[in-house]
Amino acid sequence: MTKEEFVQAAREFLWDRIGEQSKEIEPDTDLIKSGIMDSLMLLEFFFFLEEKKGSALEASAVTNEALSSLENAYSLVAGS
């Protein structure tokens, strides 16, 4: 999965949950500071990432920074 494909899929994931607000999300938008990544979203996003990766995430890699934006989250999926 390319970064562009991941960002598109993540936007669809967010659209299902927060609707219109998701249109404002750029790959580098801070999801935590913007309040989008609340505890409920975090759990769901975790499973979304696992689904995209096709295997369990490395727990030590799931940090604040890694979940702070879509482009950072891509690194969890791509393993880079």
Binding site: D16, L42, L43, E44, F47
Partner: protein, 480 residues
């Protein structure tokens, strides 16, 4: 056709008592598809989807490694909290008509029923979800229990993030839906600072809002303020991996947080006709709260705290005693004595930290506990032994204990055992019959009717409550 006949144990207990048994904390398990439809109709599809997400993540969050949950502050929530082997009891909790039919089998004459899943709603940060969720549950409860109020009354869920939203739902639930009882969110987890720090707002002392309009509404309309808040996911009940770790003592922790806040905030003093109940946490913490609150009051009220005023310190005497008794190590620092006496004993303007509470004496505190506060206990809690008249004499106040069966939740493995379980205290000689009557009848009668004589109107226990109310009034003086 199933027959619901009391067990021999229940029959024997019922034959030995001459009063009804009132359960002030039974439970219903809401039928979620119906609640969801109501939520969608009230707040739209987006909020209904949030409802789906809440319940999905509740059951799947455990799959996120504890290391990650710790990093993001997500603790382990409840799991497998309802019956499976006891399928009849599971169905009973979901079907109010079946509950109605089975109450006599359980030895219970009347039950005040609390919902279960609703607990997600009043704690939600999302205002639409919080308020519409409570309303959806309330509409569901009002309709589901219509026609069953002879033996059961449901409580309305009241969100309390602000006084306005509390009042709004209180008005709707009592005036539009006809609720006589409510359950309020008693612990509001608020965020402050950067990075955000969670602090606990117990609706009284140091609250972010003045909740007096809520208390006044309740007092003026004969509504007891009851609290059944969760103590999990904050404080020390927030393990990332262990529900049982979080569960032990959590209702007591939440009840104590609210009760202490209300007491320090002077709420029971300002609203003397209002009754407060803290459910499912047992009675032990209530005794500890009274003992420590009144103990601290007696030593540190506005007058008594002068005992610790550094201005009274006899420096000459201290120096003299040091010269005689200090160790060699201390004597090496004789010049530092004045400095050593300063920390936490520095001169300052004194203040009365009990002034807001409005209490004027320990006796005053004892009277407020005995008059205004009620504590819910389950039948299997051995600390119910504290709810005796003999312990009240020793403690210095009566801890009003109200029996809550908790039927419907995992704690009750067999509904048919709830009455025998609480009656064990009589069989073991801990309670006399008056103590037993107090927790299953007298205290519930007082909680619900002290400020609303019609609470039990139209119910199966109306005449017995009325008769007992007259006797209690005669014992205690007129209703305050």
């Amino acid at each position: 056709m199933l027959q619901f006949t009391p067990s021999d144990k229940v029959k024997k207990i019922r034959a030995s008592i001459d009063h009804p048994v009132i359960d002030s904390d039974g439970h219903l398990i809401e039928y979620l598809p119906a609640v969801r439809d109501r939520l969608r109709d009230l707040a739209g599809s987006d909020v209904a989807r949030r409802f789906d997400r809440h319940y999905w993540t509740m059951d799947h969050g455990y799959r996120v490694p504890p290391e990650v949950r710790r990093r993001f502050g997500i603790s382990q929530g409840p799991w497998w909290t309802f019956h499976a082997k006891a399928s009849l009891d599971r169905a009973t909790s979901m079907l109010p008509a079946l509950q109605f039919e089975r109450l006599p089998e359980l030895g219970i004459d009347f039950a005040v029923v609390y919902p279960s899943y609703f607990i997600q709603f009043p704690v939600a940060e999302d205002e639409d979800f919080r308020r519409a969720g409570c309303r959806a549950v309330n509409q569901y409860l009002a309709d589901t229990y219509a026609g069953l109020t002879e033996r059961m009354l449901p409580v309305a869920a009241i969100p309390m993030n602000t006084p306005e939203e509390g009042l709004d739902e209180l008005r709707y639930a009592t005036r539009e839906l006809g609720f006589r009882a409510v359950v309020m969110q008693g612990v509001i987890l608020r965020k402050a600072g950067e990075p955000p720090r969670i602090w606990v707002d117990g609706l009284g002392h140091d609250s972010a809002y003045n909740y007096d309009p809520v208390w006044k509404f309740c007092e003026d309309n004969g509504i007891a303020a009851t609290f059944h808040s969760s103590g999990m996911n904050w404080g020390s009940h927030a393990s990332m991996s262990n529900f049982m770790f979080n569960h032990v003592g959590h209702f007591a922790a939440a009840g104590e947080a609210t009760a202490r806040s209300l007491l320090f905030g002077g709420v029971p003093k300002r609203f003397p006709r209002l009754r407060f109940a803290f459910l499912e946490g047992g009675v032990a913490w209530a005794g500890a709260l009274f003992g420590q609150f009144s103990g601290n009051y007696s030593k540190r009220n506005g007058r008594a705290v002068d005992h610790y005023n550094p201005a009274h310190l006899d420096h000459d005497l201290i120096r003299s005693l040091f010269s005689q008794y200090a160790t060699d190590e201390m004597k090496k620092h004789t010049g530092g004595l004045e400095h050593a006496l300063m920390p936490l004993s520095t001169p300052r303007e004194p203040c009365d930290e009990f002034a807001e509470s409005g209490f004027e004496s320990v006796e005053d505190i004892a009277n407020v506990f005995a008059r205004s506060l009620f504590f819910g206990c389950e039948g299997d809690d051995p600390m119910n032994a504290l709810a005796t008249s003999s312990f009240a004499r020793f403690l210095g106040t009566r801890i009003n204990t109200i029996y809550g069966s908790d039927i419907g939740h995992w704690d009750v493995r067999n509904m048919r055992e709830v009455l025998p379980e609480v009656y064990e205290l009589v069989e073991h000689g801990i309670y006399d019959h008056d103590d037993f009557r107090a927790i299953v009848f007298d205290s519930p009668v007082r909680l619900w009717t002290d400020n609303n004589l019609d609470f039990f109107a139209g119910t199966a226990v109306e005449s017995q409550v009325h008769e007992r109310r007259q006797q209690l009034n005669a014992q205690m003086g007129a209703v305050k």
